[in-house]
Every structure is written in structure tokens, then in C-alpha cells.
Symmetry: C2
Subunit: 131 residues, 2 copies
């Protein structure tokens, strides 16, 4: 497919409460998922909410990984948005399903930036973070 | 629908080059979109890539807005992920389409965290960022 990005949308139900209710655990899992998928990490921001719930994003040279957790429903929404041929988003997804002990999962993949009748293949430049 | 989050995926084609190729312009547009949608901004991270392209996320108490731009294709991918009843993601989307001068757009909405046979309605807590 002639697209710039791959976007995997992951629904994680029946997660282990401890795994999705702790900021350091969630942050560590997302960072490790990015590394295992061969992503180049550019920035990491995570926040814990009161009374509970964690939101976080790992900005990568190839786009981003994000997570929002609802511990009260044992649910987490994860997005893995990537571009280029190096990053392997499936590896990140598989790792996170395991780390959060999700009992029921769904993953949907969308193509982003599709050029249907492009005269030339759309290609990603080799990105390097500068600011 | 009995879902925790609304996720709007926005494809912006034929954007104005200047609008999506400048870090401050893109960052300012995303922040203003979040404010207009009544979001509570928690964190803002933006990066410019070499030779071009901007990635950024506005983390909000209600989830996040993200953007990745490919100026060489005059394309930007925007996500507006929200929860709760206050935030109005359509307002953010409409504003960004206008700001980036997108000639061709597509928006898809997905429900995140759907509980099909829940005995009670799933409701969002009032979130307050603490860390």
C-alpha cells in the first residue's frame, strides 16, 4: 500500500490492575516496547491522574506510541503510529499485551497518508530529530 | 455507545506548506485547537526533524492530540483522542483543517474502550493531573 504511516490501535481489556495503575510500570513498558520495535526515542512524557489513570506518549523519530489507562475498568488504549521500514510495530504490540496481562485484546491497523494514484511510490525520508 | 473514549483520526492532504513546515506554527495550532475544544492541557512536546517534518503531542487531561507532518507531501496526520463530555473534538478538527489550509481531508471516528454488554454505563471520572 502506498502509505506514509502505519497506525496500530490496540484495545487491552481485563488487564492486570497493578500493571496499568502505576506510572513507572506503564512508562517503563512503553519505553521498552519502543526499543524492542527498533524505534528511535525522541521524547517521553507520562502523567498520572487523580484518583487514577495514566496517560503517556513516547515520541519517536518514526512517529509515536501512546497509552491511556482506565484502571477502574482494567482497560488500556494503546496506539503505535510508525513510519519507515525499520520499526516493527507488531513487536511493540505483542510485548505490551504480555506486560499488561491483557485477558482480551483487539488490534486494528490503519494506513495513514495514503496516496491512491501517486505517480511515484511515497517514501519516508530518514528522519533525525533536531529540536 | 458505551465507550470510554472518542478517537478522531484526521487525514490532511494538500496542506499549505508554510503551515505544516514550521514548528512554532504547528505547535501553536495544536495548542489553540485543544483550548478551543475545551481541553485541559497537561503537557506539550514538539520536535522538528531534519530535513523536514514535525511531530508533536498535546497531552490533555482528557487524553491527547497528536500530529505528524510530511511537508514534502503536503500531508499531516492528526489524532484527537478524548474522553468525557466536556471536550468537543469536532471543534479542534475544524480549526486545524482551517489553519493548515488542507485542500482534501478525511476524518474517521473510532470508539475506544467499548463495553458491549456492560451492566452499568461506563463513565469517565473527573480527571486531575497530579504528576
Amino acid at each position: 500500500m502506498n502509505a506514509l504511516g502505519r497506525h496500530l490501535l490496540l484495545e487491552l481489556f481485563d488487564c492486570e490492575l497493578d500493571a496499568i495503575n502505576n506510572l513507572e510500570t506503564v512508562k517503563g513498558a512503553l519505553i521498552e516496547a519502543a526499543k524492542r520495535a527498533q524505534a528511535t526515542i525522541v521524547d517521553v512524557v507520562f502523567h498520572e491522574f487523580n484518583p487514577f489513570g495514566i496517560s503517556g506518549v513516547v515520541v519517536i523519530a518514526e512517529s509515536h506510541l501512546s497509552i491511556h489507562t482506565w484502571p477502574e475498568y482494567r482497560y488500556a488504549a494503546v496506539d503505535v503510529f510508525s513510519c519507515g521500514d525499520v520499526l516493527q510495530p507488531e513487536i511493540a504490540v505483542g510485548y505490551l499485551v504480555e506486560q499488561f496481562g491483557a485477558g482480551r485484546t483487539s488490534v486494528v491497523e490503519l494506513q495513514r497518508g495514503m496516496f491512491i494514484n501517486a505517480r511515484h511510490p511515497v517514501v519516508n525520508k530518514g528522519a533525525v530529530a533536531v529540536s
